[in-house]
């Protein structure tokens, strides 16, 4: 499994904080692990070297060694430096008067320019503006069609000149079109190009020369490796970028490119693309990002995400139920369904403070949740409301209905009642206590306490052949 930076950092500082007192050597040793973690996250090696030197110097300067909580202080220094490295970020888009504000997108092939054009148009529309998309990617087959479809989905017009071979001309006409249509923002999609392709880079510069964009954004794949610095540098020199949009951030890449690109160009990351849907463009927050990297959780993002999905009234009702200990399997099922809307459970849990390391240990994969749902779905309403009525016969029926084993059913019921008890306890606490409680639980092995199956390895349903074989054995046994 991909070792995330978060786990690495947490590990390093747990080791450190366990020691109590820290020597200069300790700081350097810890930074060696930090270095490796950053390199594995694809941060450019030169940037890593500089970063580590800075942190060590700062740590020694602030006398981390003599401080009471050296581990915590180190975390703070590393976090601050990370934020410094990625920030400051200004995610506002400055609109000009008189309109239109011209925005140009550039980047390597496959970085996600066309999709991002659509997302940005959607984002700008929500700010009350009226963008026009201009299709200047005349290189890739059907790229113009793609932008047209994307524009359609967003609900904005798309300017295209079929048969035209010169993107500079299209860009120029596109801006004129915006003026005559009364659109106040123009977003220009350009062809993907290699930064070493002299001809194509000149073309990009020509487009910029022709329409004088107010903003030029580099679209960069968050999975890019060490080469990110080379391409970003070249694009910045040729086009004088205003900002960077990192795409495909919803994967499991740690996005070290974010740090590298900022370091070599000095241009901030403005937005991140976090999904396939057109609304999946978010503002970039270096502090949240640093917290996420450091395993301190990203509770702000989590809350924002949750607010988008949860019905406040329903949530209040749930909480009340939890507090009274009336939380049933029916509610649990409903919650699981809502959680799914938020995205993969693992990703959500990673956003919770103190949960970073536990996620791996918990092994809450999608399959297991699906099977838990199946088990609950195979229960009658009465059984869901009061699982204590489930005896051997019912258990067998439920197992059969959900394609699991009777032990799975009892395992789920048992751990659910345990979890329900804990929820009741937690509901009575203040936020601070609750967080502490969650962390304690994490350390005490929360893994065993959440509702889950006892038997983990049963990830596949038996095939017909295996089922027949098993039944035969059963019959034999009875005789």
């Amino acid at each position: 499994m991909f070792e995330s930076l978060t786990d690495k950092f947490t590990d390093v500082f747990r080791k450190m904080s366990g020691r109590g007192r820290i020597s200069e050597q300790n700081v350097k040793d810890a930074m060696r692990d930090v270095r490796q973690a950053l390199l594995e996250a694809d941060v450019h090696y030169k940037v890593v070297r500089q970063f580590c030197d800075d942190v060590v110097a700062k740590a020694l300067g602030t006398e981390v060694i003599k401080s009471l909580h050296p581990g915590q202080l180190m975390v703070k220094i590393v976090q601050d430096e990370l934020i410094n490295l990625m920030g400051p970020v200004d995610t506002r888009i400055y609109y000009v008067t008189p309109p239109p504000t011209v925005i140009m997108m550039a980047g390597l092939q496959g970085s996600g320019k066309t999709t991002t054009c659509g997302k940005l148009a959607h984002f700008i529309m929500r700010q009350g503006k009226h963008p026009l998309l201009v299709a200047c990617d005349l290189q890739r087959p059907a790229a113009v069609d793609q932008l047209t479809v994307v524009a359609d989905q967003v609900g904005v017009p798309c300017f295209r000149m079929d048969g035209e071979k010169n993107p500079v001309k299209v860009a120029r006409q596109g801006v004129q079109q915006a003026v005559s249509m009364g659109r106040d923002v123009v977003i220009i999609d350009t062809a993907g190009r290699l930064h070493v392709d002299e001809e194509m880079m000149k073309q990009a510069a020509d487009i910029a020369q022709a329409v004088h964009p107010h903003q030029i954004y580099l679209v960069c794949d968050s999975m890019t490796g060490q080469d990110a610095v080379n391409s970003a540098k070249e694009f910045n020199e040729r086009l004088e970028l205003d900002g960077v949009i990192l795409t495909k951030f919803d994967g499991d890449a740690r996005g070290g490119a974010a740090i590298s690109v900022k370091a070599v160009t000095g241009k901030p990351i403005k937005f991140i693309g976090v999904g396939e849907k057109l609304e999946n463009l978010e503002e970039f927050h270096p502090d949240r990002m640093a917290s996420r990297i450091l395993g301190m959780g990203d509770i702000v993002t989590l809350v924002e995400k949750a607010q988008g999905q949860f019905d406040a009234e329903q949530a209040a009702k749930m909480q009340e139920k939890m507090a009274k200990g009336q939380f049933t399997l029916t509610d649990f099922l409903a919650q699981m369904k809502q959680m799914r809307k938020l995205g993969p459970l693992k990703e959500i849990l990673k956003l919770m403070p103190g949960m970073g390391q536990q996620v791996e240990a918990m092994q809450m994969d999608g399959d297991e949740i699906t099977r838990m749902e199946a088990v609950i779905n195979s229960m009658t309403v009465a059984e869901r409301e009061d699982p204590t009525v489930i005896e051997a016969n019912r258990r067998r029926r439920i197992a059969k209905g959900s394609g699991t084993e009777p032990e799975d059913v009892s395992g789920l019921v048992k751990s659910f009642s345990m979890a329900a008890g804990m929820m009741k306890q937690m509901a009575g606490m203040g936020t601070k206590d609750r967080m502490r409680f969650a962390q304690q639980m994490g350390q005490a092995g929360m893994a065993g306490m959440t509702p889950r199956f006892k038997v983990k390895q049963r990830s596949h349903r038996l095939t017909k052949k295996e089922r027949d074989k098993k039944n035969k054995q059963k019959k034999k046994g009875r005789r």
Binding site: G112, A142, N230, K248
Partner: protein, 305 residues
């Protein structure tokens, strides 16, 4: 012979920057120096800069150190030859060939994350197989991205091969039709395009598994090849991608796209180490003829030209 020279030239020009950046710098770095810890550190950084990853770089560093301890190498200048040998040994000849079906269509399933270069790579593969005298049919299995089908259709027209398109949004249905059509038209090769998907998206990976299952059901022994298209600029996340796609659809090889930039594609070394996947083809440009079978000899040789 002419074709062979063209190959060398293409890789050479594609890798020129790579060479200058990496091994060119390496030669001057090593000249006349003794192999000490300081030099090893610098070497390790060079390997990391080529996206080989920390683990792989450290492994190569250890190998170098061992060779030095055993007096197999003493001077910096010998390091390059040592690295050449070491890198070449990563890709034995056996696992680089395409596995063709004895009878009926050979099915090649192509997958990868968004923007890795799947559709262009399929065009290149189609051209290559057609060039070899095979009858090729394309399946437009990317029903998700806007205009992906149009993009592949344009390629199919340019190259002159058949393409099977579906009417709906279900890639499995398109692939089902394509399998039937390929069999009926007695095609030699069926190339299946799929929508780009992040390997962390469970439901999309399940969709891919379904596509694979449909293929396996329609044509026995198929898919004969499952190619993962990797962007050469990808960093360490490529390992994660290779693992996830292999777990889902049993990848048989890698098509390394976009090797004509400054990116080194060194990640394939790490992938060979950790997931044991061979590289089968490399992509070197935007035209359909810009494809070459991966040849480690040439690959490594070209690095040092």
């Amino acid at each position: 012979m002419a074709l062979f020279r063209k190959t060398i030239e293409k890789i050479a020009s594609g890798l020129r920057k790579t060479r200058e950046k990496f091994f060119g710098g390496l030669a001057s770095l090593l000249r006349g120096r003794r192999l000490d810890e300081g030099l090893l550190d610098e070497l390790e950084e060079k390997l990391i800069e080529a996206d080989m990853g920390v683990a792989t770089a450290m492994k190569i560093r250890d190998d170098l150190k061992a060779a030095f301890a055993e007096k197999r190498i003493t001077q910096g200048d010998e390091v390059i030859d040592f690295l050449k040998q070491e890198l070449k040994s990563y890709w034995p000849a056996a696992d680089r060939s395409i596995h063709f079906a004895p009878t009926g269509p050979t099915v090649v399933l192509v997958a990868g994350i968004n923007g890795s270069g799947k559709t262009t790579s399929i065009a290149k593969l189609a051209w290559r197989f057609k060039h070899d005298g095979k009858k090729v049919v394309l399946a437009a299995g990317d029903t998700f991205r806007a205009a992906a089908v149009e993009q592949l259709t344009i390629w199919a027209e340019r190259i002159g091969v058949d393409i099977i398109k579906g009417s709906g949004k279900d890639p499995a249905a398109v692939v089902y039709d394509a399998c039937e059509a390929a069999t009926a038209r007695k095609a030699d090769v069926l190339l299946i395009d799929t929508a780009g998907r992040l390997h962390t998206q469970d439901h999309l990976m399940r969709e891919l598994i379904k596509v694979r299952n449909v293929v396996a059901k329609k044509i026995p022994q198929a898919p004969h090849e499952v190619l993962l298209v990797l962007d050469a600029t990808t960093g360490q996340n490529a390992i994660s991608q290779a693992k996830a796609f292999t777990a889902a659809i049993d990848v048989t090889g890698i098509m390394l796209a976009k090797l004509d930039g400054t990116a080194k594609g060194g990640i394939v070394v790490a992938i060979r180490n950790e997931v044991n996947l061979p590289v089968k083809f490399i992509g070197l440009g935007e035209g359909y003829e810009d494809i070459e079978p991966f040849n480690p000899e040439e690959f490594v040789e070209a690095l040092f030209l």
